[in-house]
Amino acid sequence: MVRYVIALGLALATLGLAACGGGDDGGGGIEAETLQPSDAKGASGKVTWCIGKDTSGAFNTAVDDFNQQNPNLEADLLELPESADIQREQQIQRLRAESSECDVLGMDVIWTAEYAASGWLYDLTPVVEELEGAFIPSTVETVEYEGKKWALPFNTNAGFLFYRTDEVPQPPTTWEDVYAEAKEGNGLVYQGERYEGLTVDFLELLYSAGGKVLSDDGETVEIDSPETREVLEFLQKGIEEGAVTKAVTTYEEESSRRAFEAGNATFMRNWPYAYALGKESAIADDFEVAKFPGYGGNPGAGVVGGYNLGISAYSDNPNGSLAFAEYLTTQPVQKEMFLKATLPAVATAVYQDPEVKEEIPFTEELLKAIEQAEARPVSPVYTEISEAIFNNVFEVLQGRQSPDEATSKMASEIETALQRF
């Protein structure tokens, strides 16, 4: 027995030395090739666009139109699953295998840092700088990491307060009032399940309260603050006092929308996509969208959502990919996406379009909300940071953890995540 242990130990030691030897190379800054705006001109060949499921048909229409207008190029849509988490997993599987299958990547705004740091993207700084005048500034922020720009903004998003016009004549302007009125009325629903959505809903309040997750340089954890404790207490009290049903701890976007449409809530926090669908539901005439409420005397600050378009470092056709990605950010396509799929445009001009204004009556509020919205922490370990947030917020909602405990646990877990090498 002893002999085996020694042998095993020796074997492991050798393997260890081998690994150390291998581990020394690599490191340093991000190595990436840069694409210039001129690279897109005269491009030809095939381009595959990998993005989440085309539920509205708008992505396919865009691909068909592009192919008609660009006879030299042939774009193709590869639909990934509907869930953002699984889209990311599937893209990462391909990127780790250095597969050239995906050329243009539809990336949730929170993946930019991770993909860029891993060297999976072309540096698009010159391209974005030429085009960015047309985009809403907060959307451009989501493509930045380490001073460079890694993707073209494609669509954006910000949370909204939906309210029942037959129950509340005037929408409240602060979260404190929303909760008070929800308690009197039929309650508020939001995304309280243990997942990314809860991080977003929590950050909206935290940002409005003036709190932060990381320092501006992304190096230190700043979530252990009185603001965090206060927001957690506020959320916990909401459930305890009945302003929010306990059921929200199982709600995602779709389940909260169903509850609201079934008449089970006076207020709902959700993304704009719920508007068009709600207008086809039983409560079509009885709800509207309000300006995002403020908190603690501050104006409301949303969290930027949406997707960007990155170009895979393993693409066989980066020039053609750039041509296609640029096409997707042009006004007519952006307008089409906005109207057909309620994917809010990143191009400011689209919000002035009379047709858009008529179809989506809250465009002005939406533009304002997106302009004021802040980005989620930019970090290559974002998923772990978010996990630390939603896990601990969730335990507070469930009453299993005090806001104080949750705050310090969150901070230490984010600290651990930042220590990853």
Partner: protein, 313 residues
């Protein structure tokens, strides 16, 4: 004596070498299948063990460092791991136990001759044929708060529990998960036990009847002992499956409210957080747990089978 010696055509040494040759041939014929097993089973296992001894950079691709058993220390030192272990074991014991009882009952009913037996056997298997993910989504929808089938039925009948958030409470969430698993896999258990039942000779029962044994006595002394091999196989299959359960909690609760299983945390570290080292360590620990339990099974119940076959001889 003489005649016997004459009938040995070969000298002793020649016989030995023939035997050795045959053994060598046997070993050679085993090589291809062993190579295949090594390729499909051993390689990934050892690769996972190797991965678990390293830490892989999530920031710089390709960068790694050897950390020895650090990942295991981290895993075993986290309350998350032990909570997942507790949940997994609890889930396995309760769900497999219920499946055994229900499956046995179903098998006994299906074994009786009656009209429409073939149809019943086919129908019973339907839940087993449904994909686990689909099962999970169905159960999740049924237990959706307020709007789901369960809560609206309870409220229509003015029964208590109409306002319980089933998947949002510790305990209830695990109960729903167990229920969904039992619903899906009891038929599988039933099928395996039914196969065992059909292997029991009829005349044993006839003899017992002649001896005046009651129904219960026949079940206790004939059916049950002779079913042990079939039940063992079914139990091993189901226990190993249940210990690795992933899709049910992933869909039902994403692991919230005391439903986080070993596979779920391993997958999260491996895939979502890209902590290849820690994730592999968790996977290896899951693997070891499963191995330990299957050895235990074979030791405890396997010995039983051997004793039984000897008795029959």
């Amino acid at each position: 004596m003489e005649g016997k010696a004459e009938r040995l055509p070969l000298p002793r040494s020649r016989r030995r070498s023939l035997f050795r040759e045959e053994r060598r041939l046997g070993a050679a014929m085993l090589v291809p299948s062993l190579a295949v097993i090594a390729l499909v089973a051993a390689y990934p296992i050892f690769y996972a063990i190797w991965l678990s001894l390293n830490e892989y950079s999530v920031i710089t691709p390709g960068l790694s460092r050897f950390v020895g058993l650090d990942n295991y220390v981290d895993a075993l030192g986290s309350s998350e791991f032990w909570a997942a272990m507790k949940t997994t074991v609890l889930f396995t014991v309760i769900s497999v136990g219920l499946e055994l009882v229900i499956g046995l009952g179903m098998a006994l009913v299906m074994h009786e001759a009656f009209r429409g037996r073939a149809l019943l056997r086919a129908v019973v298997l339907v839940p087993w044929a449904v994909l686990t993910v689909v099962t999970a989504i169905t159960w999740r929808t049924m237990f959706e708060p307020e709007l789901g089938f369960v809560n609206s039925t309870l409220s229509a009948l003015s029964l208590p529990g109409a306002d319980v958030v089933w998947l949002g409470e510790e305990g209830y969430a695990l109960a729903v998960m167990i229920l969904a698993d039992v619903w899906k896999t009891a038929p599988f258990m039933a099928l395996l036990i039914l196969a065992g039942l059909q292997g029991i000779p009829r005349d044993l029962y006839d003899a017992a009847k002649v001896d005046g044994a009651t129904v219960w006595q026949r079940f206790r002394s004939i059916t049950l002992p002779l079913l042990v091999p079939a039940i063992t196989v079914a139990l091993i299959f189901r226990t190993l499956d249940a210990l690795r359960v992933f899709d049910l909690p992933y869909v039902l609760t994403k692991g919230a409210n005391g439903t986080e299983t070993l596979s779920l945390i391993a997958q999260r570290e491996l895939v979502t957080n890209r902590n290849t080292g820690l994730g592999s360590a968790l996977a290896v620990l899951t693997f070891l747990t499963v191995m330990a339990i299957s050895f235990l099974y074979i030791r405890l119940v396997g010995g039983n089978i051997r004793a039984l076959t000897k008795e029959q001889e």
